[in-house]
Protein backbone atom coordinates (compact mmCIF):
# COMPACT_ATOMS: atom_id res chain seq x y z
CA UNK A 1 0.00 0.00 0.00
CA UNK A 2 1.17 3.49 -0.79
CA UNK A 3 2.28 5.36 2.28
CA UNK A 4 2.04 9.07 2.94
CA UNK A 5 5.74 9.19 3.75
CA UNK A 6 6.51 8.05 0.22
CA UNK A 7 4.77 11.13 -1.03
CA UNK A 8 5.67 13.77 1.49
CA UNK A 9 9.41 13.21 1.85
CA UNK A 10 11.12 15.75 4.10
CA UNK A 11 12.85 17.35 1.13
CA UNK A 12 9.52 17.89 -0.57
CA UNK A 13 8.05 19.59 2.45
CA UNK A 14 11.20 21.68 2.71
CA UNK A 15 10.95 22.90 -0.89
CA UNK A 16 7.22 23.51 -0.37
CA UNK A 17 7.81 25.62 2.72
CA UNK A 18 10.83 27.43 1.27
CA UNK A 19 10.54 27.40 -2.50
CA UNK A 20 13.73 28.20 -4.39
CA UNK A 21 13.98 30.63 -7.27
CA UNK A 22 10.67 32.22 -6.50
CA UNK A 23 9.93 35.46 -8.35
CA UNK A 24 9.85 37.05 -11.76
CA UNK A 25 12.38 37.99 -14.41
CA UNK A 26 12.05 41.11 -16.51
CA UNK A 27 12.07 40.90 -20.30
CA UNK A 28 13.88 39.81 -22.40
CA UNK A 29 13.43 36.77 -20.15
CA UNK A 30 10.74 34.54 -21.57
CA UNK A 31 7.46 34.03 -19.65
CA UNK A 32 5.24 30.95 -19.92
CA UNK A 33 2.10 29.95 -18.03
CA UNK A 34 1.09 26.45 -17.05
CA UNK A 35 -2.26 25.32 -15.83
CA UNK A 36 -3.82 22.23 -14.32
CA UNK A 37 -7.52 22.61 -15.06
CA UNK A 38 -8.59 19.78 -12.77
CA UNK A 39 -7.14 21.11 -9.53
CA UNK A 40 -6.57 24.75 -10.39
CA UNK A 41 -2.78 24.70 -9.98
CA UNK A 42 -1.09 27.52 -11.83
CA UNK A 43 2.53 28.22 -12.55
CA UNK A 44 4.40 30.97 -14.32
CA UNK A 45 7.96 30.29 -15.42
CA UNK A 46 10.49 32.93 -16.46
CA UNK A 47 13.55 31.68 -18.29
CA UNK A 48 16.65 33.54 -19.32
CA UNK A 49 18.61 31.78 -22.05
CA UNK A 50 22.00 32.88 -23.24
CA UNK A 51 24.28 31.03 -25.66
CA UNK A 52 22.44 27.78 -25.23
CA UNK A 53 22.52 27.94 -21.46
CA UNK A 54 19.56 28.40 -19.11
CA UNK A 55 21.23 31.14 -17.17
CA UNK A 56 18.30 32.00 -14.93
CA UNK A 57 14.87 30.72 -14.00
CA UNK A 58 12.18 32.11 -11.70
CA UNK A 59 8.77 30.83 -10.77
CA UNK A 60 5.50 32.16 -9.43
CA UNK A 61 2.06 30.60 -9.10
CA UNK A 62 0.29 28.46 -6.61
CA UNK A 63 -0.54 24.86 -6.08
CA UNK A 64 -0.19 21.91 -3.81
CA UNK A 65 2.99 20.80 -2.07
CA UNK A 66 3.79 18.41 -4.89
CA UNK A 67 3.47 20.91 -7.72
CA UNK A 68 5.26 23.60 -5.72
CA UNK A 69 8.13 21.44 -4.55
CA UNK A 70 8.46 19.85 -7.96
CA UNK A 71 8.85 23.25 -9.57
CA UNK A 72 11.28 24.40 -6.91
CA UNK A 73 13.36 21.23 -7.23
CA UNK A 74 13.24 21.57 -10.99
CA UNK A 75 14.50 25.12 -10.87
CA UNK A 76 17.53 24.15 -8.82
CA UNK A 77 18.21 21.19 -11.14
CA UNK A 78 18.18 23.15 -14.37
CA UNK A 79 19.45 26.57 -13.44
CA UNK A 80 22.73 27.36 -15.09
CA UNK A 81 22.69 24.22 -17.20
CA UNK A 82 23.17 23.91 -20.97
CA UNK A 83 19.86 23.43 -22.78
CA UNK A 84 20.69 19.87 -23.85
CA UNK A 85 21.26 19.00 -20.27
CA UNK A 86 17.98 20.68 -19.29
CA UNK A 87 16.08 18.76 -21.94
CA UNK A 88 17.68 15.53 -20.85
CA UNK A 89 16.71 16.15 -17.24
CA UNK A 90 13.15 16.90 -18.28
CA UNK A 91 13.06 13.68 -20.29
CA UNK A 92 14.46 11.62 -17.43
CA UNK A 93 12.03 13.10 -14.95
CA UNK A 94 9.01 12.65 -17.18
CA UNK A 95 10.15 9.14 -17.87
CA UNK A 96 10.12 8.44 -14.16
CA UNK A 97 6.60 9.79 -13.87
CA UNK A 98 5.37 8.18 -17.08
CA UNK A 99 6.61 4.68 -16.34
CA UNK A 100 3.70 4.05 -14.11
CA UNK A 101 1.35 6.76 -15.24
CA UNK A 102 0.04 4.12 -17.60
CA UNK A 103 -0.09 1.32 -15.05
CA UNK A 104 -2.20 2.82 -12.31
CA UNK A 105 -1.49 1.40 -8.93
CA UNK A 106 1.40 -0.89 -9.82
CA UNK A 107 4.62 -0.85 -7.85
CA UNK A 108 7.80 0.62 -9.27
CA UNK A 109 10.23 -2.16 -10.05
CA UNK A 110 11.63 -1.64 -13.54
CA UNK A 111 15.42 -1.32 -13.72
CA UNK A 112 15.46 1.73 -16.01
CA UNK A 113 13.53 3.45 -13.25
CA UNK A 114 16.35 2.67 -10.80
CA UNK A 115 18.94 4.13 -13.14
CA UNK A 116 16.80 7.21 -13.61
CA UNK A 117 16.53 7.67 -9.89
CA UNK A 118 20.29 7.78 -9.54
CA UNK A 119 20.60 10.26 -12.39
CA UNK A 120 18.02 12.58 -10.83
CA UNK A 121 19.70 13.18 -7.51
CA UNK A 122 17.54 15.31 -5.24
CA UNK A 123 14.70 15.11 -7.71
CA UNK A 124 14.39 11.45 -6.91
CA UNK A 125 12.50 12.53 -3.81
CA UNK A 126 9.53 12.91 -6.12
CA UNK A 127 9.64 9.25 -7.14
CA UNK A 128 7.03 8.37 -4.51
CA UNK A 129 4.47 10.44 -6.40
CA UNK A 130 3.99 7.64 -8.90
CA UNK A 131 2.31 5.61 -6.20
CA UNK A 132 -0.36 8.33 -6.09
CA UNK A 133 -1.41 8.46 -9.71
CA UNK A 134 -3.69 11.47 -9.44
CA UNK A 135 -0.81 13.52 -8.10
CA UNK A 136 1.45 12.84 -11.08
CA UNK A 137 -0.16 15.72 -12.93
CA UNK A 138 0.83 17.95 -10.00
CA UNK A 139 4.44 16.82 -10.21
CA UNK A 140 4.72 17.22 -13.98
CA UNK A 141 3.03 20.59 -14.36
CA UNK A 142 6.24 22.59 -13.94
CA UNK A 143 8.14 20.29 -16.27
CA UNK A 144 5.57 20.47 -19.04
CA UNK A 145 5.51 24.21 -18.71
CA UNK A 146 9.30 24.38 -18.91
CA UNK A 147 9.23 22.24 -22.06
CA UNK A 148 6.72 24.62 -23.53
CA UNK A 149 8.89 27.58 -22.58
CA UNK A 150 11.94 26.06 -24.27
CA UNK A 151 9.89 25.25 -27.37
CA UNK A 152 8.59 28.79 -27.53
CA UNK A 153 12.06 30.26 -27.22
CA UNK A 154 13.27 27.86 -29.88
CA UNK A 155 10.45 28.70 -32.30
Amino acid sequence: MANLDDLYREIILDHYRSPRNRGELAPPAHRTEGFNPLCGDEIVIYVQIEDGVLTDIKLTGHGCSISQSSSSLMSTAVKGKPLEHVRATIATFKDLMMTRETKLGEEATDPSGEANLRRLGELAALAGVVKFPVRIKCATLAWNTLTQALDEVDA
Binding site: L4, L7, C39, G63, C64, S65
Partner: protein, 411 residues
Protein backbone atom coordinates in the same frame (compact mmCIF):
# COMPACT_ATOMS: atom_id res chain seq x y z
CA UNK B 1 -42.69 12.41 11.58
CA UNK B 2 -40.20 10.92 13.99
CA UNK B 3 -36.52 11.25 13.19
CA UNK B 4 -34.90 8.24 11.59
CA UNK B 5 -31.92 6.42 12.98
CA UNK B 6 -28.95 7.39 10.79
CA UNK B 7 -27.16 4.19 11.85
CA UNK B 8 -29.90 2.21 10.16
CA UNK B 9 -29.57 4.36 7.07
CA UNK B 10 -25.87 3.63 7.09
CA UNK B 11 -26.71 -0.05 7.25
CA UNK B 12 -28.61 0.34 3.99
CA UNK B 13 -25.52 1.61 2.18
CA UNK B 14 -23.26 -1.20 0.98
CA UNK B 15 -20.33 1.13 0.36
CA UNK B 16 -20.18 1.95 4.06
CA UNK B 17 -18.57 -1.46 4.53
CA UNK B 18 -15.49 -0.34 2.63
CA UNK B 19 -12.28 -0.28 4.60
CA UNK B 20 -9.79 2.31 3.39
CA UNK B 21 -6.20 2.16 4.55
CA UNK B 22 -7.23 -0.04 7.43
CA UNK B 23 -10.09 2.14 8.61
CA UNK B 24 -13.80 2.14 7.88
CA UNK B 25 -14.57 4.66 5.19
CA UNK B 26 -15.57 8.16 6.29
CA UNK B 27 -17.53 9.39 3.33
CA UNK B 28 -17.81 13.16 3.37
CA UNK B 29 -18.28 13.82 -0.34
CA UNK B 30 -22.05 13.61 -0.77
CA UNK B 31 -21.94 17.04 -2.38
CA UNK B 32 -20.10 15.49 -5.33
CA UNK B 33 -22.12 12.29 -5.41
CA UNK B 34 -24.15 10.57 -2.73
CA UNK B 35 -23.83 6.93 -1.75
CA UNK B 36 -26.36 4.45 -3.03
CA UNK B 37 -28.77 2.48 -0.80
CA UNK B 38 -29.23 -1.21 -1.47
CA UNK B 39 -32.85 -0.64 -2.52
CA UNK B 40 -31.75 1.67 -5.31
CA UNK B 41 -29.21 -0.82 -6.62
CA UNK B 42 -31.80 -3.56 -6.42
CA UNK B 43 -34.39 -1.55 -8.31
CA UNK B 44 -31.99 -1.30 -11.23
CA UNK B 45 -31.02 -4.95 -10.98
CA UNK B 46 -34.68 -5.92 -11.05
CA UNK B 47 -35.17 -3.90 -14.18
CA UNK B 48 -32.30 -5.64 -15.95
CA UNK B 49 -33.25 -9.07 -14.62
CA UNK B 50 -36.98 -9.01 -15.22
CA UNK B 51 -38.28 -5.99 -17.13
CA UNK B 52 -35.56 -4.84 -19.49
CA UNK B 53 -36.90 -3.67 -22.83
CA UNK B 54 -37.01 -0.44 -24.71
CA UNK B 55 -39.90 1.82 -23.79
CA UNK B 56 -42.89 3.46 -25.43
CA UNK B 57 -43.32 1.58 -28.68
CA UNK B 58 -43.57 -1.99 -27.45
CA UNK B 59 -46.70 -4.11 -27.23
CA UNK B 60 -45.24 -7.11 -25.46
CA UNK B 61 -45.32 -7.53 -21.75
CA UNK B 62 -41.78 -6.59 -20.68
CA UNK B 63 -41.92 -3.52 -22.93
CA UNK B 64 -45.09 -2.47 -21.15
CA UNK B 65 -43.48 -3.08 -17.80
CA UNK B 66 -40.43 -1.04 -18.79
CA UNK B 67 -42.68 1.79 -19.94
CA UNK B 68 -44.64 1.65 -16.69
CA UNK B 69 -41.38 1.79 -14.71
CA UNK B 70 -40.07 4.70 -16.72
CA UNK B 71 -43.30 6.71 -16.63
CA UNK B 72 -43.75 5.77 -13.00
CA UNK B 73 -40.44 7.46 -12.26
CA UNK B 74 -41.82 10.63 -13.77
CA UNK B 75 -44.71 10.43 -11.32
CA UNK B 76 -42.28 9.87 -8.45
CA UNK B 77 -40.40 13.00 -9.46
CA UNK B 78 -43.57 15.04 -9.72
CA UNK B 79 -44.70 13.88 -6.30
CA UNK B 80 -41.29 14.47 -4.74
CA UNK B 81 -41.23 18.05 -6.00
CA UNK B 82 -44.95 18.75 -5.61
CA UNK B 83 -45.00 19.74 -9.26
CA UNK B 84 -48.17 21.73 -9.86
CA UNK B 85 -48.89 20.08 -13.22
CA UNK B 86 -47.89 16.52 -12.37
CA UNK B 87 -45.66 14.13 -14.23
CA UNK B 88 -46.17 15.77 -17.62
CA UNK B 89 -43.87 18.51 -16.36
CA UNK B 90 -40.90 16.21 -15.77
CA UNK B 91 -38.21 15.71 -18.41
CA UNK B 92 -35.44 13.19 -17.83
CA UNK B 93 -31.99 14.15 -19.06
CA UNK B 94 -28.57 12.66 -18.39
CA UNK B 95 -27.58 15.04 -15.60
CA UNK B 96 -28.27 18.47 -14.18
CA UNK B 97 -25.78 19.88 -16.64
CA UNK B 98 -27.73 18.66 -19.65
CA UNK B 99 -30.85 20.11 -18.05
CA UNK B 100 -29.21 23.52 -17.93
CA UNK B 101 -28.17 23.20 -21.55
CA UNK B 102 -31.74 22.26 -22.43
CA UNK B 103 -32.94 25.37 -20.59
CA UNK B 104 -30.45 27.62 -22.38
CA UNK B 105 -30.69 26.16 -25.87
CA UNK B 106 -34.39 25.51 -26.06
CA UNK B 107 -36.10 28.07 -23.86
CA UNK B 108 -33.22 30.55 -23.89
CA UNK B 109 -32.57 30.47 -27.61
CA UNK B 110 -36.28 30.73 -28.40
CA UNK B 111 -37.35 33.39 -25.95
CA UNK B 112 -34.33 35.56 -25.26
CA UNK B 113 -33.42 38.43 -27.57
CA UNK B 114 -29.99 39.97 -28.02
CA UNK B 115 -29.40 42.22 -25.03
CA UNK B 116 -31.80 40.35 -22.75
CA UNK B 117 -30.18 39.55 -19.45
CA UNK B 118 -29.75 36.25 -17.66
CA UNK B 119 -29.03 36.98 -14.03
CA UNK B 120 -27.03 34.29 -12.28
CA UNK B 121 -24.95 34.57 -9.13
CA UNK B 122 -21.28 34.49 -8.33
CA UNK B 123 -21.83 31.30 -6.34
CA UNK B 124 -23.16 29.27 -9.28
CA UNK B 125 -21.78 25.96 -10.44
CA UNK B 126 -20.31 26.03 -13.96
CA UNK B 127 -23.38 24.11 -15.11
CA UNK B 128 -25.38 27.29 -14.50
CA UNK B 129 -22.78 29.60 -16.02
CA UNK B 130 -21.16 28.08 -19.09
CA UNK B 131 -24.41 27.39 -20.98
CA UNK B 132 -25.27 31.08 -20.58
CA UNK B 133 -21.88 32.14 -21.89
CA UNK B 134 -22.51 29.86 -24.84
CA UNK B 135 -25.88 31.49 -25.37
CA UNK B 136 -24.22 34.87 -25.16
CA UNK B 137 -21.95 33.82 -28.00
CA UNK B 138 -24.72 32.44 -30.17
CA UNK B 139 -27.57 34.79 -29.31
CA UNK B 140 -26.05 37.90 -27.82
CA UNK B 141 -27.71 37.71 -24.42
CA UNK B 142 -26.03 39.40 -21.49
CA UNK B 143 -24.93 37.37 -18.47
CA UNK B 144 -25.00 39.33 -15.23
CA UNK B 145 -23.83 38.17 -11.82
CA UNK B 146 -25.42 38.76 -8.44
CA UNK B 147 -22.41 39.39 -6.17
CA UNK B 148 -21.71 37.41 -3.03
CA UNK B 149 -21.17 39.23 0.26
CA UNK B 150 -18.15 38.79 2.48
CA UNK B 151 -20.32 36.66 4.73
CA UNK B 152 -21.07 34.25 1.90
CA UNK B 153 -24.61 35.35 1.04
CA UNK B 154 -26.15 36.62 -2.15
CA UNK B 155 -25.77 40.37 -2.09
CA UNK B 156 -29.31 41.49 -2.77
CA UNK B 157 -28.75 45.04 -1.57
CA UNK B 158 -28.78 46.47 -5.09
CA UNK B 159 -30.89 43.79 -6.66
CA UNK B 160 -33.66 46.09 -7.90
CA UNK B 161 -31.16 48.03 -9.98
CA UNK B 162 -29.67 44.80 -11.30
CA UNK B 163 -33.02 43.66 -12.66
CA UNK B 164 -32.93 45.98 -15.64
CA UNK B 165 -33.39 43.89 -18.79
CA UNK B 166 -33.46 40.61 -16.87
CA UNK B 167 -35.63 37.90 -18.43
CA UNK B 168 -34.36 35.00 -16.36
CA UNK B 169 -32.95 34.70 -12.87
CA UNK B 170 -31.07 31.41 -12.51
CA UNK B 171 -29.73 30.67 -9.06
CA UNK B 172 -28.74 27.72 -6.96
CA UNK B 173 -30.93 26.72 -4.03
CA UNK B 174 -27.84 25.69 -2.10
CA UNK B 175 -24.23 26.51 -2.89
CA UNK B 176 -22.08 23.45 -3.49
CA UNK B 177 -19.09 25.31 -2.03
CA UNK B 178 -20.42 27.54 0.73
CA UNK B 179 -23.43 25.55 1.82
CA UNK B 180 -25.42 28.78 1.67
CA UNK B 181 -29.17 28.31 1.21
CA UNK B 182 -30.61 31.01 -1.00
CA UNK B 183 -34.05 32.64 -0.58
CA UNK B 184 -35.73 31.01 -3.58
CA UNK B 185 -39.26 32.17 -2.90
CA UNK B 186 -38.06 35.73 -2.50
CA UNK B 187 -36.13 35.49 -5.77
CA UNK B 188 -39.23 34.10 -7.49
CA UNK B 189 -41.23 37.10 -6.34
CA UNK B 190 -38.48 39.42 -7.44
CA UNK B 191 -38.19 37.81 -10.88
CA UNK B 192 -41.93 37.70 -11.43
CA UNK B 193 -42.41 41.29 -10.36
CA UNK B 194 -40.00 42.24 -13.16
CA UNK B 195 -41.64 39.98 -15.73
CA UNK B 196 -38.75 37.51 -15.55
CA UNK B 197 -38.77 33.78 -14.84
CA UNK B 198 -36.85 31.96 -12.14
CA UNK B 199 -34.72 28.86 -12.69
CA UNK B 200 -33.49 26.97 -9.65
CA UNK B 201 -30.40 24.77 -9.48
CA UNK B 202 -31.60 22.13 -7.05
CA UNK B 203 -28.57 19.86 -7.46
CA UNK B 204 -27.40 20.47 -3.89
CA UNK B 205 -30.76 21.03 -2.26
CA UNK B 206 -33.17 18.30 -3.31
CA UNK B 207 -31.57 15.57 -1.20
CA UNK B 208 -31.14 17.79 1.83
CA UNK B 209 -34.22 20.04 2.04
CA UNK B 210 -37.86 19.46 1.24
CA UNK B 211 -38.75 20.87 -2.18
CA UNK B 212 -42.24 22.21 -2.83
CA UNK B 213 -42.49 23.74 -6.26
CA UNK B 214 -45.87 25.22 -5.55
CA UNK B 215 -44.56 27.00 -2.46
CA UNK B 216 -41.33 28.05 -4.15
CA UNK B 217 -43.21 29.42 -7.18
CA UNK B 218 -40.21 28.68 -9.41
CA UNK B 219 -40.46 28.26 -13.17
CA UNK B 220 -37.63 25.81 -13.78
CA UNK B 221 -36.03 23.27 -11.44
CA UNK B 222 -32.96 21.24 -12.29
CA UNK B 223 -31.05 18.48 -10.50
CA UNK B 224 -29.26 15.13 -10.80
CA UNK B 225 -30.21 11.71 -9.45
CA UNK B 226 -26.67 10.82 -8.37
CA UNK B 227 -26.62 13.51 -5.69
CA UNK B 228 -29.84 12.26 -4.11
CA UNK B 229 -28.99 8.60 -3.45
CA UNK B 230 -29.85 7.71 -7.05
CA UNK B 231 -27.78 6.43 -9.94
CA UNK B 232 -25.41 8.23 -12.28
CA UNK B 233 -26.79 8.97 -15.73
CA UNK B 234 -30.07 10.71 -14.92
CA UNK B 235 -30.94 14.35 -14.56
CA UNK B 236 -34.26 16.09 -14.08
CA UNK B 237 -35.63 19.16 -15.79
CA UNK B 238 -38.90 20.54 -14.52
CA UNK B 239 -40.93 23.40 -15.86
CA UNK B 240 -44.60 24.38 -15.95
CA UNK B 241 -46.67 22.72 -18.65
CA UNK B 242 -47.39 25.93 -20.48
CA UNK B 243 -43.71 26.86 -20.63
CA UNK B 244 -42.78 23.37 -21.76
CA UNK B 245 -45.40 23.44 -24.47
CA UNK B 246 -43.89 26.62 -25.91
CA UNK B 247 -40.29 25.38 -25.83
CA UNK B 248 -38.87 24.13 -29.14
CA UNK B 249 -37.11 20.75 -29.17
CA UNK B 250 -33.48 20.47 -28.20
CA UNK B 251 -31.76 17.21 -29.18
CA UNK B 252 -33.20 15.59 -32.31
CA UNK B 253 -33.80 11.91 -32.98
CA UNK B 254 -36.17 9.07 -32.28
CA UNK B 255 -38.93 9.48 -29.73
CA UNK B 256 -39.11 13.28 -29.93
CA UNK B 257 -40.94 13.44 -33.25
CA UNK B 258 -44.51 13.31 -34.40
CA UNK B 259 -43.57 12.77 -38.02
CA UNK B 260 -40.45 12.62 -40.20
CA UNK B 261 -40.17 12.54 -43.96
CA UNK B 262 -37.28 13.22 -46.30
CA UNK B 263 -38.53 16.82 -46.27
CA UNK B 264 -38.57 17.58 -42.57
CA UNK B 265 -39.99 16.70 -39.18
CA UNK B 266 -42.63 17.82 -36.70
CA UNK B 267 -41.86 17.47 -33.00
CA UNK B 268 -43.84 15.50 -30.45
CA UNK B 269 -45.52 17.20 -27.50
CA UNK B 270 -45.03 16.78 -23.76
CA UNK B 271 -41.78 15.70 -22.14
CA UNK B 272 -41.05 13.33 -25.06
CA UNK B 273 -40.18 16.36 -27.15
CA UNK B 274 -37.02 16.68 -25.07
CA UNK B 275 -36.16 13.02 -24.67
CA UNK B 276 -34.55 12.04 -27.95
CA UNK B 277 -33.28 8.49 -28.18
CA UNK B 278 -33.49 5.63 -25.75
CA UNK B 279 -33.89 7.21 -22.31
CA UNK B 280 -32.12 6.22 -19.07
CA UNK B 281 -34.67 3.52 -18.23
CA UNK B 282 -32.76 1.57 -15.59
CA UNK B 283 -31.62 4.85 -14.09
CA UNK B 284 -35.24 6.00 -13.87
CA UNK B 285 -36.00 2.82 -11.90
CA UNK B 286 -33.13 3.63 -9.56
CA UNK B 287 -34.15 7.26 -9.29
CA UNK B 288 -37.70 6.31 -8.30
CA UNK B 289 -36.30 3.99 -5.64
CA UNK B 290 -34.11 6.83 -4.35
CA UNK B 291 -37.14 9.10 -4.13
CA UNK B 292 -38.99 6.38 -2.23
CA UNK B 293 -36.03 6.03 0.11
CA UNK B 294 -35.77 9.78 0.77
CA UNK B 295 -39.52 10.11 1.24
CA UNK B 296 -39.39 7.18 3.62
CA UNK B 297 -36.87 9.02 5.79
CA UNK B 298 -38.75 12.27 5.38
CA UNK B 299 -37.04 15.31 3.92
CA UNK B 300 -37.72 17.37 7.05
CA UNK B 301 -36.00 14.70 9.11
CA UNK B 302 -33.02 14.62 6.80
CA UNK B 303 -32.73 18.40 6.96
CA UNK B 304 -32.90 18.36 10.75
CA UNK B 305 -30.34 15.56 11.00
CA UNK B 306 -27.87 17.29 8.72
CA UNK B 307 -28.41 20.59 10.48
CA UNK B 308 -27.39 18.97 13.76
CA UNK B 309 -24.30 17.47 12.17
CA UNK B 310 -23.38 20.74 10.53
CA UNK B 311 -23.80 22.75 13.70
CA UNK B 312 -21.62 20.33 15.63
CA UNK B 313 -18.93 20.29 12.95
CA UNK B 314 -18.84 24.07 12.60
CA UNK B 315 -18.50 24.53 16.35
CA UNK B 316 -15.73 22.02 16.68
CA UNK B 317 -13.84 23.28 13.64
CA UNK B 318 -13.92 26.75 15.13
CA UNK B 319 -12.72 25.52 18.52
CA UNK B 320 -10.07 22.96 17.73
CA UNK B 321 -7.61 24.50 15.27
CA UNK B 322 -6.69 27.88 16.71
CA UNK B 323 -7.89 29.55 13.55
CA UNK B 324 -5.70 27.48 11.26
CA UNK B 325 -8.78 25.94 9.67
CA UNK B 326 -11.12 28.48 8.15
CA UNK B 327 -14.64 27.63 7.00
CA UNK B 328 -15.44 29.22 3.64
CA UNK B 329 -19.16 29.67 4.18
CA UNK B 330 -21.64 30.80 6.82
CA UNK B 331 -20.28 30.03 10.32
CA UNK B 332 -23.56 28.81 11.81
CA UNK B 333 -26.53 26.75 10.64
CA UNK B 334 -28.70 29.75 9.78
CA UNK B 335 -29.82 29.17 6.15
CA UNK B 336 -26.97 26.86 5.32
CA UNK B 337 -26.71 23.16 4.59
CA UNK B 338 -24.16 20.46 5.29
CA UNK B 339 -21.53 21.46 2.77
CA UNK B 340 -18.41 22.65 4.59
CA UNK B 341 -15.53 24.08 2.61
CA UNK B 342 -12.24 24.31 4.44
CA UNK B 343 -9.21 26.45 3.92
CA UNK B 344 -6.35 25.09 5.99
CA UNK B 345 -3.66 27.66 6.50
CA UNK B 346 -0.40 26.61 4.85
CA UNK B 347 -1.78 23.37 3.51
CA UNK B 348 -3.06 23.14 -0.02
CA UNK B 349 -6.51 21.48 -0.31
CA UNK B 350 -4.98 18.74 -2.43
CA UNK B 351 -2.60 17.92 0.33
CA UNK B 352 -5.35 18.11 2.92
CA UNK B 353 -7.40 15.61 0.95
CA UNK B 354 -4.39 13.40 0.42
CA UNK B 355 -3.59 13.22 4.11
CA UNK B 356 -7.26 12.68 4.96
CA UNK B 357 -7.42 9.80 2.47
CA UNK B 358 -4.75 8.08 4.52
CA UNK B 359 -7.28 8.01 7.34
CA UNK B 360 -10.10 6.82 5.11
CA UNK B 361 -11.68 10.28 5.14
CA UNK B 362 -13.12 11.25 1.75
CA UNK B 363 -13.30 14.97 1.09
CA UNK B 364 -13.07 16.77 -2.22
CA UNK B 365 -10.34 19.29 -2.99
CA UNK B 366 -10.65 21.69 -5.87
CA UNK B 367 -12.63 24.54 -7.29
CA UNK B 368 -15.84 22.48 -7.21
CA UNK B 369 -16.78 23.78 -10.65
CA UNK B 370 -17.33 27.21 -9.16
CA UNK B 371 -14.30 29.14 -10.33
CA UNK B 372 -15.95 32.57 -10.30
CA UNK B 373 -16.74 32.03 -6.62
CA UNK B 374 -13.19 30.85 -5.94
CA UNK B 375 -11.86 33.98 -7.61
CA UNK B 376 -14.29 36.10 -5.59
CA UNK B 377 -12.64 34.84 -2.40
CA UNK B 378 -9.12 34.76 -3.79
CA UNK B 379 -8.85 31.00 -3.47
CA UNK B 380 -7.67 28.41 -5.96
CA UNK B 381 -9.42 25.60 -4.19
CA UNK B 382 -10.94 24.41 -0.93
CA UNK B 383 -11.18 21.02 0.73
CA UNK B 384 -14.87 20.30 0.99
CA UNK B 385 -16.63 17.97 3.41
CA UNK B 386 -20.32 17.34 2.88
CA UNK B 387 -22.94 15.32 4.71
CA UNK B 388 -25.73 12.96 3.72
CA UNK B 389 -28.55 11.27 5.63
CA UNK B 390 -26.16 8.40 6.44
CA UNK B 391 -23.58 10.71 8.05
CA UNK B 392 -22.84 10.44 11.75
CA UNK B 393 -21.02 12.51 14.34
CA UNK B 394 -18.32 9.85 14.19
CA UNK B 395 -17.63 11.03 10.63
CA UNK B 396 -16.90 14.47 12.00
CA UNK B 397 -14.66 12.87 14.67
CA UNK B 398 -12.66 11.15 11.94
CA UNK B 399 -12.50 14.34 9.91
CA UNK B 400 -11.14 16.35 12.82
CA UNK B 401 -8.61 13.71 13.77
CA UNK B 402 -7.29 13.50 10.23
CA UNK B 403 -7.25 17.28 9.88
CA UNK B 404 -5.10 17.49 12.98
CA UNK B 405 -2.56 15.25 11.28
CA UNK B 406 -2.63 17.34 8.13
CA UNK B 407 -2.03 20.51 10.07
CA UNK B 408 0.82 18.92 12.00
CA UNK B 409 2.46 17.40 8.96
CA UNK B 410 2.75 20.72 7.18
CA UNK B 411 3.13 22.59 10.48
Amino acid sequence: MTRFDPKLVRGDIPLMNRVINGRPITYLDSGASSLTPRSVIEAMDRYYQFHHANVHRGVYQTANEATAIYEGARESAAHFLNAPGGSEEIVFTKNATESFNLLARSWGAAFLQPGDVVLVSEMEHHANIVPWFQLRESHGVEVRFIPVTDDYRLDLSNIEESMHGVKLVSVTAMSNVLGTINPIRELANLAHSHGALLAVDGAQSVAHLATDLVALDADFMIFSAHKMLGPTGLGVFWTRQEIMAAMPPFLGGGGMIKDVSTDGFTPASGPSKFEAGTPPIAQAAGFAAAVRYLEGLGMENIAAHEKDLTGDALTRLALEFDGRVRVIGPPDTEARGGVISLDVQGVHPHDVAQVLDQFGVCVRPGHHCAKPLMKRFGLAATARASFGPYSLVSDTDALLEALTHAVEMFG
